[in-house]
Symmetry: none
Subunit: 159 residues, 6 copies
Amino acid sequence: MESSATHTLSTQTQGAPLAKYAASRRVGDYIFLSGVIAVDPQNKVIVNGFDDIPAEAAQLIGQTGEFSTDYKIGPILAQSWYVLNAIRGHIEAQGGQMSDVFKLVQYFRNVDHFPYYSQVRQLFFPDQAPVSTVVEVSAMMPSKAILIEVEATAYLPLS
Amino acid sequence: MESSATHTLSTQTQGAPLAKYAASRRVGDYIFLSGVIAVDPQNKVIVNGFDDIPAEAAQLIGQTGEFSTDYKIGPILAQSWYVLNAIRGHIEAQGGQMSDVFKLVQYFRNVDHFPYYSQVRQLFFPDQAPVSTVVEVSAMMPSKAILIEVEATAYLPLS
Amino acid sequence: MESSATHTLSTQTQGAPLAKYAASRRVGDYIFLSGVIAVDPQNKVIVNGFDDIPAEAAQLIGQTGEFSTDYKIGPILAQSWYVLNAIRGHIEAQGGQMSDVFKLVQYFRNVDHFPYYSQVRQLFFPDQAPVSTVVEVSAMMPSKAILIEVEATAYLPLS
Amino acid sequence: MESSATHTLSTQTQGAPLAKYAASRRVGDYIFLSGVIAVDPQNKVIVNGFDDIPAEAAQLIGQTGEFSTDYKIGPILAQSWYVLNAIRGHIEAQGGQMSDVFKLVQYFRNVDHFPYYSQVRQLFFPDQAPVSTVVEVSAMMPSKAILIEVEATAYLPLS
Amino acid sequence: MESSATHTLSTQTQGAPLAKYAASRRVGDYIFLSGVIAVDPQNKVIVNGFDDIPAEAAQLIGQTGEFSTDYKIGPILAQSWYVLNAIRGHIEAQGGQMSDVFKLVQYFRNVDHFPYYSQVRQLFFPDQAPVSTVVEVSAMMPSKAILIEVEATAYLPLS
Amino acid sequence: MESSATHTLSTQTQGAPLAKYAASRRVGDYIFLSGVIAVDPQNKVIVNGFDDIPAEAAQLIGQTGEFSTDYKIGPILAQSWYVLNAIRGHIEAQGGQMSDVFKLVQYFRNVDHFPYYSQVRQLFFPDQAPVSTVVEVSAMMPSKAILIEVEATAYLPLS
C-alpha cells in the first residue's frame, strides 16, 4: 500500500541545517534522490582527488601512485566514488541497498570522463546495471570543479 | 487503485490548440509534467522581465525599482516566478496543490542564476523542499532568451 | 499488483554481451528505459543519414532525393527515427506499445534540430503526445556525431 | 667494439618498398627507431579501435564490451597497443627484447589520453620502466586520426 | 668500458613508491633522464611561483618584490629553476655534475617564456652551453599549469 | 676510444659571439646538434622564400618561376634547404659527412608541409634514410615565421 510519506534527509547529520533542501524523498514505493555532487557539506569542500576520499577507496578505484596520472584521473574517479557512495548512504539510511537503485541520470562536464566513472560504477553495481542516461552539460552547482552529478531513483516497496 | 487515466492539459485554455503537446499527464498515482518554460503561449511572448508578470508577483520576488538592477535580475526572477506559477496552475487544475510536487529537475542557461531562482522557489515551497536536480545546459527551446526550464513531478494518489 | 520484477534487455540480441548495461527495466507498473542513441551496436555504426535506416522509413520521414538537402537534414531525421523506433522495439519486447510511453526527456546537441525530430515523433505518437522535456546539451556518448538522446518512460501495469 | 653498422629495416616485409624511410637503425651499441604511429603500412589503414587489433590484445588492454565506452577509449588503447607492439617487433627483429628499450619519447594529440596509454605500456614494460618524456602536440603525420607517436631507443651492445 | 647497467631513480626518496616510472637511467656511458616538470611529488604540488621555491633561489633568478611583476614572471622563472635544479640533483645522485649534461630538449607551453628560462639556465650552465632544442607545444602532463618540460642527457663515462 | 671532448661550434664564424649557445657537441662517438632553424644569424634574417637562398639551390628544390606557386611553397622549401644545408655544414666542420647523420627529429608548424620538406631531404640523403620523427608543434623560436626545426644526431667514431 503506497503512502505518500516523505522523509527529508539532509546530507548532513550534524552542523548547520541546510535550508530548503531535501536529499531524498520516499514517495509511494519509490525513493527519489536529489542530484548528488561530490561536496562534503560539513567542510564545504569539493572532492578534488584521491586525497579527498578514504585510502582504501582510492586504491579500489584505480589510484596508480604515479603523480601525473593520478593528478589527471584522480578528480573524476574520486568524485565518482564519492557521489555513488553518498547515494548508497542515502538508500541504506532508508533501509534499502544500492541494488534497489534502478535508474541513474548522470550529468558530466566532460563526457570523456565516462569510462572512468563507469569503472567506479561497476563496483557499486556488481550484478545488475541500473537504467542509465548520460549527457555532457555545461556546468553544475556550485562551480566548474564539479565534474559529475548523479540523480538516482530507487524502488523499495513498503511491505 | 491506480488507473492509467491520462489527462492532457494544454497550456492554454483558449486560442489555437497546440499540436501534439501534453503539458501534463496523470499516470497511476503520479502526475508528470512536461518541462515548463516562461512563454505565454497565447501571446507567444517570452517573459523578459518584471513587466511581463503581475505587479504583485514582481514585488514579491524582489523587484527593487532601480532600473539597472531590475534590468539585470528581472529576467531570471520573472521567468522563475512564471514557470513555478504555471506548474502550480497545472497541479491545481488536477485537484492537487504545489506541495504535492515532490521532484523538480531544473535546467539553467547560466547556473549563476540559481540563487535568484532559489529565492523564488522558496515562495512556492515554504515548508518542505522537493528533491531537486540543477544543471546548466546550452539552450532551451525556443531561444536563448529562455533562462530556465523546470520539469516537475507530483504525487497525488487516486482514492 | 506491483512487483519489483526487473527485466534487463540488452540492446543486442546476438554477438558479444554488453557489459553492465540495462537497456530497460520494469519496476512496479512502470518500464524505465536508458537514454537511447542512434547507434547500431551490432555493426558498431553511428546512424549518419538516410542510408543508415530502411528505405521506407527514410521516405516516411522526409527524404527529398535532393543531395544537399538530404545531406543536411538526413542525420537528425535518421537519428530521430532510429531512436524512436528502438524505443518502440524495447516497449513491444515487454508486451507494450508505443502509446504506453508517457514521458520523454529529449537531449539535443543543437536545439535547432527540434522541429525535424518533432515531425518524426508525430509518426510514433499519432494520437496522444507524451509529456516532454527538451534541452540542448554539449554532447552525448560516444561522440559529437550523436545529435539526440531520448530517455523514455512507459506505464504498463501488471494486471 | 662499436661499429657503425647500420641496418635499415623497412616496416614492411612484403609489398612495395618504402622510399627513403628507415624504421630503425643500429648505431654502435644502440638501436634508434623512427617515431612509430598506428598505421598498417600494408593496408595503409590507420588503427581506429579495438576491431583493428587482435581480439586477445583488445581483451588485454581494456575492451569493456560496452559500445559507447569502447567507441571512446578504443582508439587510444588500440593505437597504443599497436605502436608498442610494432616497437617490440622491430627490436626483436634485431635480436633484442622490449626490455632493451630504455627511452621513449611519446607525442600525444591529447594528453588526457596518457592514462590509457600508460596502462598499455605497463603490459610491455612489466619490470623496469624506460625513461619517458610525454608532450601534447598539435598533430602527427598523416592525419589527425593519429593520436600517438612513440620514438624508442634501445641499448643492445654488440658483444 | 660500457656496461648496460641501469639505475632507476625515483623522483621521490620517501613516501609512496612511484609506479613504473624511471626518473633516469644509466645506459653505457650516458645518463638519460625522463622529461622533468616542476612538480613536487611528495607534496603533490605544481610549482606556481616564487613562493614554491627556496627564497635564495627566488632572489637569484629575478624576484623583484613588486607584486604584479612577480605574479607574472614568477611561474616560468620558478618552474625553470625547479626543473633545472631537479636535473642537477639527478645527475649529482649519479656521481656527476651539471656540466656533464650536454643536451637539453626544452618544451614550452608558450615560447615567449624562453628568455626567462634562458636567464635561469645560464645560472646552471655558466661555462659551456649544452646543445639545445626549443619548441612550443600544446600541453604537458599533468595540467596546463605546467609551463615547461626539460629532457636532459648527460655523458659520464664509467671509469 | 671515446673521449668526452666537446667542440662547441657557434653558428657563425664571424661577427659577435653568441652567448651560451652550442650549435653542436661531440660526445664520445656521437655528434649532437642543437635544433636548427632557418635564420641567418649574421643578418638575423628569417629565411622567407626562394630569394633568401642561393639561386642554384632554389632551382634544385623546386622553384617554378610562377609567382603564386613560389610565394606559397617557397618558404617551406627554402627553410628546409637552409636547415639541412646548415646541418651538413656543422657535420662537415667536424670532419664528417651528411651520411653520418643517422637521426632527425623534425618539428613542423604545419605538418602539411612535410611532403615539401621530404623532397628536399631526399637531396641530402640520396642513399640511406636517417631514422626520423615528425611532429607538428605550435611554434618555434623566434617567431611563427619559422616553419621547421630539425634536430640532428650523427655518428662519427673517433679513431
